[in-house]
């Protein structure tokens, strides 16, 4: 039975953010999600908040947006709600791609039927999957566009890795990587990337074949870095660590939206195969060296520094960014690349200062809570909007 691709309005977008649930004593992960979620269920937030594979994680799903600023504002409001509820339970919440010192064996599977099944199948991989990513959804009008965009976006995966990297520590040690989170993802048997199919029909044939072998039952069984999401009518980028602030998360989403607009407007016709030959290498380079990564360019047969490639891309899409209302976001991203100031660097600097990972996580939770400041109360915000309209 072919997968049906539900179309959506092109270039609408939204994000999913996985977040850490921490105790406020030593800022280790703790079993706080069930209590936090049941408290949040009583006072609904603008975004949806859901359980994740272990009881030390929650996931925020934003609504669908067309512009950067409203997405950011929604995330700020959601964050405020989560922070308040967590405070009442003496829990803290933080961004960041992985917890720097937790022990995977201490995690507990969130007891839903689905998560228990996953745990039974994957063993320790399930608990080790207590890592925190940002997923960005970009709306597309057809399955063919989703396939096209997935292939094209593969070239920019290193940018998202370098910009979002926020997991330099693992099991209490500095990994020397900008992001260590992706290793937890790569361990799954169906990790990787979309095969070289050219259209939605062709993809459906591939899917049917895999389903026929009894390996997959739905799209969710593919743990790819980027994948079409037929149920939502989107292309989904799943490569990023959860940033340390909601602003950074919204900025990354705006960058993805602008890139997608550029790629849909100026269709590329170059062959797909070579870019997947360099894909794994470039991905590794970005994970390891961040903005300093040397990326192999299959077209030009040269290497280019990630930062320069990113700056050139930002320059190219600037005008489309202005059209989409993403100018502020793109400027912030350019600035971050220019100063090489991603979140991994921030975390390492905090470790330099404190020499203690508990303190690093405490500061990381404070940053999540305070940066940017609280949203004004709703009535006040509406009054301000009215004033601006006049």
């Amino acid at each position: 039975m072919p997968l049906e691709f539900k179309t959506s309005e092109a270039l609408t977008f939204g994000v999913e953010l996985e977040l850490m649930v921490l105790n406020t004593r030593d800022f280790n992960l703790t079993r706080g999600a069930p209590d936090l979620l049941s408290r949040l269920a009583k006072s609904p937030l603008p975004s949806e908040v859901k359980p994740e594979i272990t009881e030390s994680m929650i996931e925020v799903n934003s609504t669908v947006h067309t512009g950067f600023a409203p997405l950011r504002d929604e995330l700020v409001r959601t964050r405020d709600g989560i922070v308040d509820a967590a405070g009442k339970l003496n829990l803290a919440v933080a961004g960041g791609g992985s917890h720097p010192f937790h022990q995977w064996s201490e995690r507990r599977i969130f007891p839903t039927e689905r998560f228990l099944k996953v745990s039974a199948l994957y063993g320790y991989l399930a608990k080790q999957f207590t890592v925190f990513g940002q997923h960005i959804h970009i709306g597309v009008e057809s399955g063919d566009d989703a396939i096209y965009l997935t292939h094209q976006m593969a070239r920019y995966i290193p940018h998202f890795i370098a910009l979002s990297a926020s997991s330099p520590f693992c099991q209490g040690e500095d990994t020397s990587f900008e992001t260590s989170r992706l290793h937890a993802v790569s361990a799954f048997p169906l990790a990787g990337h979309l095969p070289e199919v050219g259209s939605w029909d062709e993809f459906n044939r591939y899917f049917d074949e895999m389903a026929g072998y009894g390996i997959v039952a739905s799209m969710k069984d593919f743990y790819w870095d980027i994948r079409p999401k037929p149920e939502y009518g989107t292309m989904e980028i799943r490569i990023g660590d959860t940033p340390l602030t909601v602003t950074a998360a919204a900025e990354l989403a705006a960058y993805a939206q602008t890139l997608a607009a550029d790629l849909l407007r100026h269709r590329r016709l170059d062959p797909i195969a070579p870019r997947y030959l360099v894909y794994g290498y470039n991905r590794f380079q970005a994970c390891r060296f961040g903005f300093e990564a040397m990326l192999a360019d299959p077209g030009a047969h040269t290497h280019i520094r990630l930062r320069e490639d990113l700056m050139a891309t930002l320059y190219r899409i600037q005008r489309i960014g202005d059209e989409l209302g993403a100018a502020d976001a793109l400027r912030a991203i350019g600035d971050r690349a220019d100063r090489e100031a991603n979140d991994s660097r921030w975390l390492r600097e905090r470790f330099q200062e404190t020499r203690n990972l508990s303190d690093v996580v405490r500061l990381q939770a404070e940053r999540w809570r305070d940066d940017p400041g609280r949203a004004p109360p709703k009535a006040e915000a509406e009054a301000a909007k009215l004033r601006a309209a006049k």
């Binding site: 406020t24 004593r25 049941s38 408290r39 689905r114 039952a217 404190t354 508990s358």
Partner: protein, 418 residues
């Protein structure tokens, strides 16, 4: 031939030997209890019960008394750890938590006082017994939380409420000692000055130790091993200083822990895990506590002891169940929390000890009632707390090593993350 290199007879027992024997015997008792799915603590205490007659038969009863040093160290570690877990900011953010703490303490006090008065116990005696009844054993709750690896709201709230009611209990007991002074026809100055000295002195000692810890913590590298040594050393010193100064060990160590928690947000002191090392002292603490409980107290106390236990349990449950749901706790969680607050152990004995030391003649009956209550709660309390954490779904599930190796039946790979 000169045989003076041989030890003289009869052989004299030494502290290291005593400590070692109590430790190993306690550990073995704990494992037997665990096999029976009981909390380890129950095993430690029963070993203590068994050791007491053996010790008196071997004529080493007094040595057991002198081994109080281990009890004080163990209790000092517990109280410090508890104080460190008490987050005043949390009490501010969620007023219902503070309210349920006050409610369960006051109700336990009120009901015990009423029950004992009704049974004809003199008001002041009933008051002191009721004040002691407010306290939950910090060592039991802390150790059960560790043993069952419990995590969640019930566990966190139980530990905070234990800190709160231990604090309240020792404050009320201290205040009542003022009345004891009065009753003993001492002059009014002493009746006022003594509790004041206990409060102010203990708080000042706790504050000074926390400040010292913070200062020293800043001098050494922020590595957990160094800070562990620092904290353990200062906790021992604080226990010693509190005893030297005739201060309240309970108040001083709780205060030390609370002040050390965030030293005015400077975070000079690493929040080290005292767990594994302090367990050595906890085991001995429970064994000695068990050994120091005369089972004959039941005869002396009679039914009064059961009134004491029943009124206390009712107060704790009512207080928690009335307030906790307002703060968004589920019924199940509120009941679990009530059960978790039942244990009574060495803290109650220490309070009793403090009162009895001041006025040895003060109430044989009071002592018997409280001790009989402690004996029952030493056994029922840990079971109740363990049940509570499990009932709330907060204990770690027991791993099933073999089940985990079998492939799951049925369908192909299901999704993990959407």
């Amino acid at each position: 031939m000169d045989l003076r290199f041989l030890p003289g007879l009869p052989l004299s027992l030494s502290y290291p030997l005593l400590f070692g024997v109590l430790l190993v015997a306690g550990m073995l008792g704990g494992e037997v209890a665990r096999q029976l799915r009981l909390p380890r603590i129950v095993g430690y205490v029963i070993v203590g019960f068994a050791i007491a007659p053996a010790a008196s038969a071997m004529n080493i009863g007094s040595l057991l008394d002198e081994a109080r040093i281990f009890v004080d160290i163990g209790l000092g570690l517990v109280l410090f750890d508890l104080g460190r877990r008490m987050d005043l900011a949390w009490l501010k953010r969620d007023w219902t938590l503070a309210a349920s703490g006050v409610a369960e303490s006051l109700l336990a006090f009120g009901l015990v006082f009423a029950a004992l008065s009704w049974l004809g116990v003199a008001p002041l005696m009933a008051g002191i017994a009721a004040a002691i009844a407010m306290a939950t054993s910090p060592a039991v709750v802390l150790l059960i939380a560790q043993d069952t690896r419990a995590e969640g709201q019930v566990t966190e709230r139980a530990l905070t409420l234990v800190a709160l009611n231990s604090l309240l209990a020792s404050v009320v007991v201290t205040m009542l000692t003022a009345s004891v002074h009065y009753e003993a026809r001492l002059d009014l100055d002493t009746a006022v000055l003594h509790p004041l000295y206990l409060f102010a002195g203990s708080l000042a000692l706790g504050g000074a130790m926390a400040r010292l810890a913070s200062l020293l913590g800043r001098q050494v590298e922020r590595n957990p091993e160094l800070h562990f040594t620092l904290v353990a050393g200062l906790v021992l010193a604080a226990v010693g200083l509190a005893q030297m100064g005739k201060l309240s060990v309970i108040l001083a160590l709780l205060a030390f822990g609370m002040f050390a928690r965030d030293d005015r947000n400077r975070h000079h002191l690493v929040n080290v895990d005292l767990g594994p090392a302090s367990r050595l002292f906890y085991i001995v603490l429970f064994v000695i506590t068990g050994a120091s409980l005369p089972l004959s107290s039941f005869e002396a106390a009679g039914w009064t002891a059961f009134a004491f236990i029943g009124a206390r349990a009712a107060g704790k449950f009512l207080g928690v169940v009335a307030i906790a749901p307002i703060g968004g706790m589920k019924w199940r969680q509120a009941i679990a929390l009530g059960a978790a607050l039942l244990p009574m152990s060495s803290l109650a004995l220490l309070l009793l000890h403090d009162v009895a030391r001041l006025y040895p003649e003060f109430g044989q009956q009071l002592t018997a009632v409280v001790i009989a209550g402690v004996i029952v709660m030493e056994l029922v309390g840990p079971v109740a707390t363990q049940w509570g954490f499990r009932f709330a779904g907060e204990s770690a599930p027991a791993p099933d090593a073999l089940a985990a190796t079998r492939p799951p039946a049925g369908k192909p790979a299901e999704p993990t993350k959407s």
